[in-house]
């Protein structure tokens, strides 16, 4: 008799741990052809709440690390991912229904994207900050700082490259993230969480919830301790995106709006995904003896 394989339980990733949903609910995840693959945890609003608490707790430490250190950790994520490429290729192929070569391309691009962002960690301030020559005897400079807790509705289609491309620019600058994965294609996100857990990323810096962005999005958008939100996961749903934006106004979250359709993730992203979640702090000091 052939050996029976041991299946993985797909759980949430909150505060560095892998809990099941607080609600106890799960949902069936199918592959691209509609065949049952696994049951994923169905995150609830209370999981959103817990993830925000975990993220907030991690913010001071993560944002206080040196940019060099954050860059090293992002690079470490890439290293560990590279090591598990076959697993990611299978997951992406299964989720997105891609051929082997295409799936490999997605994984390669995701790893390369992490490497690209890792390099940005200690350059971003130099590129987007500057000295200001004010008309008086003052030292004056403007430097970027992370916005804080960022809620990210990850894209629904690109289950890995899109996820990584949404998450990396958030955390590279020192933000912490609560990510809602693709609803239909959540499994690469859970595997990615396992990579994060073994890549020196402090617990709580990234929290990944598998579940329905249309259900969790409003809780995240309305949460008063979330500072910003990326709505790319509701691309193509302008009504919902608009509602989330309205909810986000309650505490003036920085909103990265939902595009009309999911973007082409293969294009080099530019600075905007990072600058969308930065504050600029200007410091003045007199110059005297």
């Amino acid at each position: 008799m052939a050996r029976l394989d041991v299946r993985k339980t797909y759980k949430l990733y909150i505060g560095g741990a892998f809990p099941r949903s607080e609600s106890g609910h799960s949902y069936e995840v199918a592959d691209a052809a509609g065949r049952f693959v696994a049951n994923a945890s169905l995150a609830s609003r209370k999981d959103v709440r817990d993830a925000v608490v975990a993220a907030r707790k991690a913010f001071g430490g993560w944002s206080g690390r040196t940019a060099y250190n954050r860059g090293q950790i992002l690079y470490r994520i890439a290293e560990v991912m590279e090591d598990r490429r076959p697993q990611f290729e299978d997951a992406v192929r299964q989720s997105e229904g891609l051929g082997a070569a295409a799936a490999r391309g997605q994984v390669d691009a995701a790893v390369d994207r992490l490497v690209w962002y890792a390099g940005w960690a200690d350059k971003l301030a130099q590129v987007v900050g500057n000295a200001n020559p004010v008309a008086g005897p003052f030292f004056n400079h403007t430097a970027p700082e992370p916005t804080g807790v960022v809620g990210a509705l990850a894209p629904q289609e690109s289950s890995l490259l899109g996820l990584v491309s949404t998450l990396a620019p958030v955390v590279v600058s020192g933000n912490v993230a609560v990510v809602v994965s693709s609803y239909g294609r959540p499994l690469p996100a859970v595997t990615f969480a396992e990579v994060l857990a073994t890549s020196d990323v402090p617990g709580g810096v990234v929290n990944i919830l598998t579940g329905d962005a249309t259900v969790l999005g409003p809780w995240l958008a309305g949460h008063m301790d979330v500072n910003a939100i990326d709505l790319v996961g509701v691309a193509g749903h302008p009504d919902l995106a608009g509602e989330l934006e309205v909810a986000a106004a309650d505490n003036l979250k920085r909103v990265r709006r939902a595009p009309a359709a999911e973007p082409d993730w293969s294009i080099e992203p530019g600075l905007e995904p990072m600058t969308a979640f930065l504050e600029h702090k200007t410091v003045w000091h007199p110059v005297g003896v």
Partner: protein, 327 residues
């Protein structure tokens, strides 16, 4: 620093005896004074300089400024004739207007004291610079002899210079002791003493932190007045330096009950500038200092500009230098 003034100045001063007991205590105290931010202090001085003093307030301020002038000549080329002429002007700055007040004092080198005294008598004070003015580079006994000579010659006020080298080298005790010794030398046989003004030469001390420290040092050592400059070094008096000194005398009185005077000297040439100083005295130290007993201008050309502006106010037209004496 206590924030309420002791009622008894003697007790107030005595309460500071601990900080002047030795070099280390003195240094600890002076270095523990709050710092002065240059940009902030200069901005405050500039802001006070924008006050607009008009009409009745200006008349009042001009007369007060005239009464606060220490009319000064401190040149190698000074002669008896020159200082007598200056003394005459000190008595009657505007001979054409009897309502014009006299200045506070005539300030000269010690050897000219008697000459001035012979003209002004007791109507105007005579101030003498002493202690190897302006550099202060001489042995202590020379400085003390210089002081005693001037007092004996009838000087009402002694303007001494501190040893800036000692101060900048951190030898605070030496500076302190020298002021104490000069103050003793100001004693007259009858028990009274010539008023002691201590010149810091703030242009050489450079930082406002130093100005604040030296102000406290001099006040603790017994200065009656603290004075910015000799007039021989640029920059001489400036508004921000004077601001820091006014803050010092204000704080010192609150701490000890002892009031000390302030004299900016050198570089104050226009009535407009003088009024800025008076505004600063008013708003920083308070009106207790708005008398010639507690605030002076060390100046020479300032007086004529004060007189011209005074004439403008009384006649309603602008005057010219030909209408005022050049002495």
């Amino acid at each position: 620093m206590p924030t309420t003034a002791p009622t008894d100045p003697a007790a107030g001063l005595a309460s500071y005896s601990e900080v002047t007991k030795d070099e280390r205590a003195l240094r600890r105290f002076l270095h523990g004074l709050p710092g002065v931010d240059q940009v902030g202090a200069e901005a405050r001085a500039a802001a006070l300089g924008t006050r607009s003093i008009k009409t009745t307030a200006k008349e009042w301020a001009l007369d007060l400024a005239i009464r606060m002038v220490d009319l000064t000549t401190l040149e190698g080329q000074d002669t008896p004739g020159k200082v007598r002429a200056l003394a005459a002007k000190a008595l009657r700055p505007d001979p054409s207007d009897p309502s014009c007040p006299s200045v506070a004092a005539v300030c000269v080198y010690g050897d000219m004291v008697a000459e001035v005294k012979s003209v002004v008598g007791d109507a105007v004070n005579v101030a003498a610079v002493a202690t190897a003015f302006p550099s202060g580079r001489a042995a202590l006994d020379i400085k003390l002899a210089d002081t005693r000579d001037a007092v004996e010659a009838g000087a009402d006020e002694i303007d001494m210079v501190i040893d800036r080298g000692a101060f900048l080298a951190g030898r605070y005790q030496q500076v302190f002791d020298e002021i104490v010794a000069v103050k003793e030398a100001c004693q007259r046989p009858d028990g009274s003493h010539a008023h002691l003004k201590v010149i810091f030469e703030t242009g050489e001390l450079q930082t406002y932190d130093n100005v604040r420290r030296v102000s406290w040092l001099a006040m603790l050592a017994g200065a009656d007045f603290i004075k910015t400059s000799t007039g021989k070094v640029q920059p001489a008096a400036t508004l921000p330096v004077t601001l820091v000194m006014l803050e010092a005398v204000r704080d010192f009185r609150e701490a000890t009950g002892v009031q000390i005077g302030v004299k900016p000297a050198g570089g104050i040439r226009t009535a407009k500038d003088a009024i800025k100083y008076l505004v600063m005295v008013n708003e920083v130290a308070g009106d207790d200092w708005l008398t010639p007993d507690w605030f002076r201008f060390g100046a020479s050309t300032l007086l004529n500009d004060l007189l011209m502006q005074r004439t403008k106010l009384t006649t309603g037209r602008y005057s010219g230098p030909d209408y005022f004496t050049l002495d």
